[in-house]
Amino acid sequence: MTAKIKEFPGTALSEKDFEAGKILFVNDQMKAEYAWDTGTAIGEYLAGLKRGVILGARCLHCRKTVVPPRLVCEWCFRPMQEFVPLQDTGRVNTFSLCYVTWDVRRIQEPEIPAVIEIDGASPLHGIMHKLGEVDPKKVSIGMTVKAVWKPAEDRQGAITDILHFKPWKEAKQ
């Protein structure tokens, strides 16, 4: 049919149409406020962050340790048996050098979001956070990193209680 049809519907507008006042439009802004309950598992996770600890959850049936913690194991649908403290160190699973903010502003110095596999969790199990105190050119997949925490008195029980992760080499025993 595309071969037979000469003209498809749909009319493209350009910025100029707006500048020239050719287009009528209605502008509105919505403000929505929420207070999210943290729930049992994430509540524990946040309380852990306030103490300077990253918590995971362990399923003894599947022999998996996941992070962030949760009440139910997705694989066997049984309750997670326990919340366990993990290390605050890990390994970069993947990263990006991002020159655009969430609201699409351009920035010169990139943010470095990463998935960090947390030591003590099962392989490939990590959290999303940012890297800092590192030359963007020197970031690599597999590099070992450690959490940089806010001072204890400033922590609020939030993921931002970890400022970022920085490169770290395990001391030789």
Binding site: M1, S14, V66, Y99, T101, V104, P113, V115, I159
Partner: protein
């Protein structure tokens, strides 16, 4: 399975544009009426309507299905909206399929619409709310992050270069130059153009990404006894599949889309396909980002893991290759009005298998094609297989 046979008998679409004059309702009506006209049916012949459209946040309209219902021709009919993020455009025809296959309805109109331009300054910011509000959103994540993170992991795992990936962007944008509705068709684009485009979130650059767009697509589904009366070239839905992986996306293997494999295996089994690489003549994998087209070809079992870039380099995926991929031009070339973009892939297969794709026609009378989409928080896969045989 005790299911009735279902065919696609008509299709219509609007141009995909950066910002459309028409409202979402108007775009929906344009695509829907064009689909009905293409098979000489009217709304009176339609027994049920399925609507696919992505987040309400883009439009700032709650209950978007109701908002769009007049444009979709839904009034006083059984009407449902499905929404699985980017996977919606291939899920909506699956929903339409089971409406008809179940025996409940003989005809179903499937309409997918997206108007992303209403959100200011850029629809990207509306995506902030897909991240977990407590454990992720406080980091002010950008939608590009998850793609960049997944792309980097994919590249690293298999030793794939940026140039390897850029080739599929070039292929799709060139293919789109032949699509009358395309936003970004470029017959002359090169790999260097992609590699030299602005870095947004390394490894993602400007030309690795499909643009946000406005547009609508519609198809008409009919049960066998109706389909054979309506057209002598029905395109049969042979298999469907869909699957979801864990929403804890930082807890899974980012290098391989297992959810796509699960969905594909379901669809292959239903279609009686044992050797997909031989039996699928045209593939339309979801390509909002260039690496995703490759990633998905692997998940669909149409390429070995890490080997999809080689298929592109060898010309296998070209329009005249052994297994054409995205002959439409895909999301990278035609545009990415989310739900409409997925259904565009099904409409493309409809036109291709009927030999009506004009300048985009794949040679050699293709008999079977596969369309796939992907979405939610990077973990839903939706697959539809259509063919010229019931």
């Amino acid at each position: 399975m005790g299911m009735r046979k279902v065919a696609v008998v008509g299709a219509g679409m609007t141009k995909f544009v950066r910002r459309a004059l028409e409202t979402g309702k108007e775009l929906s009506w344009q695509a829907a009426s064009m689909a009905l006209e293409s098979c000489e049916m009217t709304l009176d012949d339609i027994q049920a309507v399925c609507m696919g459209t992505a987040p309400d946040a883009f439009d700032g309209v709650h209950m978007k299905a109701e908002y769009l219902s007049d444009g979709a021709g839904a009034w006083r009919k059984p009407y449902m909206r499905s929404y699985v993020g980017g996977g919606t455009g291939v899920f909506a025809p699956i929903q339409g399929w089971y409406h008809v296959a179940s025996g409940l309805f003989d005809t179903c109109l499937v309409v997918c619409e997206e108007k992303m331009s209403s959100y200011f300054p850029h629809a990207q910011a509306a995506f902030l709310t897909i991240f977990d509000h407590t454990t992720e959103r406080a980091l002010e994540p950008n939608l590009l992050w998850i793609f960049a993170l997944e792309m980097n992991r994919y590249m690293q795992t298999y030793g794939i270069s940026k140039a390897d990936i850029a080739r599929i962007a070039v292929q799709n944008k060139r293919n789109a130059a032949d699509h009358p509705c395309a936003l970004l068709g470029e017959a002359e684009i090169t790999v260097e153009d992609v590699l030299n485009s602005e870095v947004l979130a390394w490894p993602v650059q400007r030309l690795d990404v499909s643009p946000i767009s406005d547009g609508a697509v519609a198809i008409v589904l009919a049960a066998e006894h109706v389909a054979r009366r309506v057209t002598d070239k029905p395109v049969w839905i042979q298999g469907v599949g869909w699957a979801l992986d864990t929403a804890y996306w930082t807890n899974r293997d980012l290098a391989y889309p297992r959810y796509v494999e699960v969905a594909a295996r379901m669809a292959y089994e239903m279609a009686g396909i044992r050797e997909p690489r031989k039996e699928i003549h045209i593939a339309e994998p979801y390509d909002p980002f260039d690496y995703k087209a490759l990633h998905h070809l692997e998940g669909l079992l149409l390429a070995d893991r890490g080997q999809a870039p080689q298929l592109v380099a060898d010309g296998v995926t070209a329009r005249d290759g052994a297994m054409p991929v995205c002959p439409s031009g895909g999301l990278l070339g035609v545009g990415n009005p989310i739900a409409a973009a997925g259904l565009m892939k099904v409409a493309e297969l409809f036109w291709q298998l009927r030999g009506e794709a004009g300048a985009r026609q794949v040679p050699g009378q293709p008999k079977r094609g596969l369309a796939q989409a992907w979405g939610d928080l990077m973990q839903v896969g939706t697959v539809v297989i259509v063919g010229t045989n019931p």
